[in-house]
Amino acid sequence: MTAYIIRRVIIGFIILLLVTMIVFLFVRLLPGDPLIVYMASYDISAQTIDEETYQYLLAKFGLDRPIPVQYINWLGDIFRGDLGKSIVLQEDITTLMANVMPRTAYLGAISMIIGTGLGVLFGIIVALRRGTRTDTIITFMANIGITVPQFWLGILLMYFFAYKLGWLPTSGWTSPFDDPLMHFKQIIMPVICLSAAGMSGMCRLTRSCMLEVMRQDYVRTAWAKGLGEKMIVFRHQIRNAVIPIVTVLGGTLGGILGGAIIVENVFAIPGMGRLMVSGVFDQDYQIVQAGVLLFGGIVIFSNLVVDITWAWIDPRIRYD
C-alpha cells in the first residue's frame, strides 16, 4: 500500500509537470503580450514605447530568456514556495491566491457535498422506486442536468430568481461574517450551477449501480436469509453500489473546479476562477500558470485519495 501511494505520488508529479509545461508554452504562444496590458495600466500606449524600455521590461519580468529557461526558473521558484508575481496586477500571486482561493474552495466544497450527497440519495430513491413516476421525473431532470451548460443555467437562474422574481441578488459576493443572510442568498445560484452536473451524473450512476447490485446473487442470498429490506439496502446493496461511485468523485471535483471558472464569472464572485480568467485575458502568464498548477494539483491529489478510499471500501482491492 505504501509503495502504491509513493508510486502514485510520483506519477502525479510527472502529470503535473507535463500539464504545467504545456500551459507554460501555450500561454506564450497565444497572440498578445502581457507587457502591453501592463503598460496600459500606466496609460502608456504600445505605440509610444521605445525599444529600449520594452527590452528593459522584458528582462525585468524574465521574459527575454528562452522559454525552457523561463520554465526551469519558474519551477525553481515553485519549489522555493514562490508562485511568482503578477505582471499586470503587480502583486505576489501567493497573496492574490490566498485572498481568492478560500472562496472558490468554499463554494467548491459546498457544491461537492451537496452534489454528491443529493445525487447519491436521489439515485438510491429512484432505484428503489424504479418504474414509478418519481423515477421518471428525477431521471429526466438528471438527464437535463448533465447536458445543460453551466453559463446558460446560471443566466437562466439569474433571469428568473433575480430579475423576474427578485428573490435573490443577481450576483456578487459578501463575506458570511459581514452579512450572513446576504451571503447565503448570493451563493444559492452559484452552488446550484456548480453542483447540477455532478449531482445529475451521480444520480444516474447511483441508480444504475443500485439496479445492477439488486440483481446480484448475494442480494438474493440476503433475502433468503430473511433480512428486512432496509438492512438489505443499507448493508448489502449500498456499499457495493458506492464502489464505482467513489471512483468518479475525483472527476466530479475536477468538473466543479472547471465550473468555478465559468460560474464565478457569471455571478461576479472574486474567486480563483475569476482570477484565472482575468489572467488569461490579460495574458498574465504567472497567474494562469499558478492557477493551473493549483487546480491540477487538487485534482491529482483528490484522485489519489479516491483510489485509497476505494481500497478501503472494497476488500478485494489491495494495492501493492
Binding site: 446473487d217 448475494y218 442470498t221 433468503a224 436469509k225 433480512l227 428486512g228 476488500p315
Partner: protein, 329 residues
C-alpha cells in the same frame, strides 16, 4: 410422517416483452420431515423458479400466479413477500443454498458478518454469542482454523470453501428444511463429493429435510429418498429413487437414464444415448405433451390429446405419460 413442506399446483410465469414464459406450470411436490428429495431436469425446466417461488423470492417480471405452499399448516404464499412472517420463515425455518459460490456471498462483508446477521435476527443473539456460534458453524462444515478465517472476506476463500460457508449459513438457525439449488454444480468433482457428503451427514444428524435441485442424476440416486423429474415447467414423473432408477416410466426419464454413465459399468459396455432435440420454448408451449417432438414412444393418442396428468403406476410412483412402457424392456 407429516409433510414439512407441500407445494400444491404452483404456477409461476414471467411476463417478458417476448411473451409469457410459463416457467412453472402447475407443479406439486412435498417433502417429509427428515426426508431428502431430489428435483431433477434439464437446464431451464423451472427447478429453480419452483423453489424460489416457494420462498417468494421471484422478482419482476416473474409472478406467482396460483398455487399454495403449505408450511407448518399455513399457506405461506399468502404472506406479504417482504413482511415479518415471510422473513421469519426465510433463513429461520427454510434455508437456501445457491448454485454460485463465487457470487452468492457479499464481496464487501466479512464471513463473520454474513453468518451472524441471520443469527441476530432469527435467534436474537447478541454480537458476541453470534460470533462464537458462527465460528462453531464454520468448523462444523469443515473450514480449518475457523476462528481465524471467520474474519476473512469471501474472495479469500476458494469456491468449495465458500460453498461450505453457504452450508453453514443455511444450517445456522436450525431450519426445518434446506433447499439446495444445484449446490455443487460450480465446483470440481472431488469438492462436489465432499460437499454432498457433508450436507448429507449434517441434515441426517440434525433431522433437517432437504430438497436437492440438480441435473445430476448420480447425486439424487445417492442421497435422495424420492425423486421428482421436471420437464418444461411440469413434474412428469415422481417416485422413490430406486423405483425411478430401476423402472423409469416416462420416456424423458428413460432418456435421462440412458444418457448418463453408471458406476461399475464396463467401459464401452453400454452406449450412452443423448436425448435428441431441444426442450420446448416455454413461451410457445404446445397443447399436447411437451416432450412429444423428442419422444420415441409416441402414439396417436399423444398427438390428439392434451398433456396427460400424472397417473399412478406404482405405490408411490406416478408418471405423466399415456403410454404404458412396460416393466423393463
Amino acid at each position: 410422517m407429516a409433510a414439512i413442506l407441500e407445494i400444491d399446483n404452483l404456477t409461476t410465469n414471467f411476463y417478458t416483452e417476448y411473451g409469457t414464459v410459463k416457467a412453472v406450470d402447475g407443479v406439486s411436490y412435498y417433502v417429509d420431515e427428515g426426508e431428502i428429495i431430489g428435483l431433477v431436469g434439464e437446464s431451464g425446466c423451472g427447478k429453480s423458479v419452483s423453489v424460489l417461488s416457494a420462498m417468494q423470492l421471484i422478482q419482476t417480471p416473474g409472478k406467482i400466479d396460483s398455487g399454495r405452499v403449505i408450511f407448518d399448516g399455513e399457506d405461506i404464499l399468502q404472506y406479504d413477500s417482504k413482511g415479518e412472517k415471510m422473513r421469519s420463515i426465510r433463513g429461520g425455518k427454510i434455508a437456501m443454498i445457491f448454485q454460485e459460490p463465487m457470487t452468492s456471498l457479499n464481496p464487501v462483508l466479512s464471513i463473520c458478518r454474513q453468518l451472524t446477521e441471520a443469527l441476530e435476527i432469527h435467534l436474537d443473539m447478541d454480537i458476541q454469542s453470534a460470533r462464537e456460534r458462527a465460528i462453531e458453524l464454520l468448523s462444523m462444515v469443515g473450514v480449518p482454523e475457523a476462528a481465524v478465517r471467520i474474519d476473512d472476506f469471501p474472495h479469500q476463500f476458494s469456491g468449495g470453501m465458500r460453498q461450505r460457508v453457504m452450508i453453514a449459513m443455511a444450517l445456522s438457525c436450525n431450519p426445518a428444511l434446506i433447499i439446495a439449488d444445484e449446490p455443487t454444480t460450480a465446483v470440481d468433482v472431488t469438492t462436489q463429493a465432499q460437499l454432498l457428503e457433508l450436507m448429507n451427514d449434517l441434515v441426517t444428524r440434525l433431522n433437517t429435510s432437504l430438497i436437492i435441485v440438480t441435473h445430476n442424476l448420480g447425486v439424487v440416486a445417492r442421497y435422495a429418498q424420492r425423486i421428482y423429474v421436471m420437464y418444461a415447467g411440469r413434474i412428469i414423473e415422481s417416485g422413490p429413487s430406486e423405483e425411478i432408477f430401476e423402472n423409469p416410466r416416462h420416456p424423458y426419464t428413460i432418456g435421462l437414464m440412458r444418457s448418463i454413465p453408471r458406476l461399475g459399468e464396463k467401459r464401452g459396455g453400454r452406449k450412452l444415448i443423448p436425448i435428441d432435440g431441444m426442450p420446448p420454448d416455454l413461451i410457445f408451449m404446445p397443447p399436447t405433451c411437451a416432450f412429444l417432438p423428442r419422444c420415441t414412444y409416441k402414439t396417436k393418442q399423444c398427438q390428439e390429446e392434451p398433456w396427460p396428468a400424472l397417473r399412478q403406476v406404482g405405490e408411490k410412483h406416478r408418471t405423466a405419460c399415456f403410454v404404458d412402457i412396460g416393466e423393463k424392456e
